[in-house]
Symmetry: D2
Subunit: 148 residues, 4 copies
């Protein structure tokens, strides 16, 4: 992740994630697992709202096969986390996302992450090629990212 | 809940719930919502393992319509919570459970709760009579409770 | 809670709570404990941002002693929950809040709740009178509520 | 993680983690973030109970700087997860743990993970050398692991 974007504005897809009281742990900062929750939040919203995937209805849908999170700065309730997502790699059956989580400083991520989806067939539960419609929308985001 | 059992041993169904780091909040004690999580834990395990309910397969299944929790003592990670359940009331379509959550002191609950299930039909999503098989097992627990 | 407000606009304090993927449970709807999480969310944000309470620094601070939640309609990720709060009762050391959680239909709550805070002294951990500054702000909200 | 242990019995430290209803997501399996929760659970219990670290009292304590999780098999409530931990690398200020999460099949992990702690000074919040007492206990575990 050496070449990962440094600023929130470098990510082509962005959402706000308000924190909840219970997100802080006894050290008074966002619990490390909550960073994973934020990473999942932006990936699943992107997948549902931008790619149009319906996990309960589509013939194939994505499952996570790998997640990585690196912690750089502490975040703390009640601040709102700004999350950014870009497509790191679009493979045959997989999509790797690069994620940045930001606090008040939008120019340096509080955490960076990686989240890999593999599309599987609902019946066989085996990997399948990323569906054409989903693939087309992913390429649009890659183009938008490259153009910036 | 004035007549609620005082000691863990008064509850006919009991499970241990190990706490997890993130269950504590920034005050250094179990977050209040985690008490609700514990109440749900014992109710759903009782329903699955003792009543034999299959939420994803049965023609009718229970949903929660009301939860209450009263906090008496603080609990804290890494202690294991001992949870106890009894049947407060078995109605036509509903079951009300009384719950006690205990820390090291098994004679005084750290929290007491109430959780009400209503059985609904999967298709209509309307309340139905508690199924005979489930009802029979619930009555067994009521008898065991009364006999103690 | 028979006289509880029916519409979101009846509550004098309101926040939006975006849902997260993991908030849904295996029945495909918001898990019942997540409703408790939403109730805590609005109560703690109101207490921090409107009442100015600093849980880690103030000489006295509130802890929860009772929570109630009644479920009327299902909510589901990825919708945003709209939460409303009003002051039900301001006592010597306690504040009882009435909460409504709303989905797309802002005129009928998906859930209604009650959350009771008791202010305690940091050293003794015993109940104390709600501090004057906090009490004054609570009365402002009561007046605003009554005036509507 | 190519040389990671394959079976639960290969890990020198092991705990059971009962699942909770809300750990499953709408796909009917353990939510991927819950795997991170399980990884944190075993790391923090090992650190508290075996290394004797007191996060709220010690002059220095560990914070997480990196977590990785790879998903191999699905797990599902109400099963109990068996978690295993070994020390992958003990550095100057850091400890890297290798984690395996197992379902009923104790010979093949459902997930494998990595969790890196860095010890920091409470005042400066800067990395410090892993304290001697903690280091000695970590070496005991490394020896036990190598001897098997």
């Amino acid at each position: 992740m050496a070449e990962a974007p440094a600023a929130l504005s470098d990510f082509p897809y962005r959402i706000d994630i308000p924190t909840r009281w219970g997100d802080n742990d006894m050290l008074g900062h966002l619990n490390n697992v909550v960073y994973n929750r934020c990473i999942e939040d932006i990936v699943t919203k992107f997948t549902r709202l931008e790619l149009g995937v319906d996990w309960l209805g589509d013939a194939c849908y994505p499952v996570s096969v790998e997640t990585v999170c690196r912690f750089h700065q502490q975040l703390s309730w009640p601040e709102t986390v700004a999350a950014g997502l870009r497509i790191e790699r679009l493979g045959e059956s997989s999509v790797a996302y690069g994620i940045g989580l930001f606090g008040a400083d939008r120019t340096a991520p509080a955490a960076t992450g990686r989240f890999v989806h593999v599309y599987i067939d609902r019946q066989s539960q085996r990997p399948v090629r990323v569906p054409d419609g989903v693939r087309a929308r992913l390429k649009d985001f890659q183009s938008a990212d490259a153009a910036e």
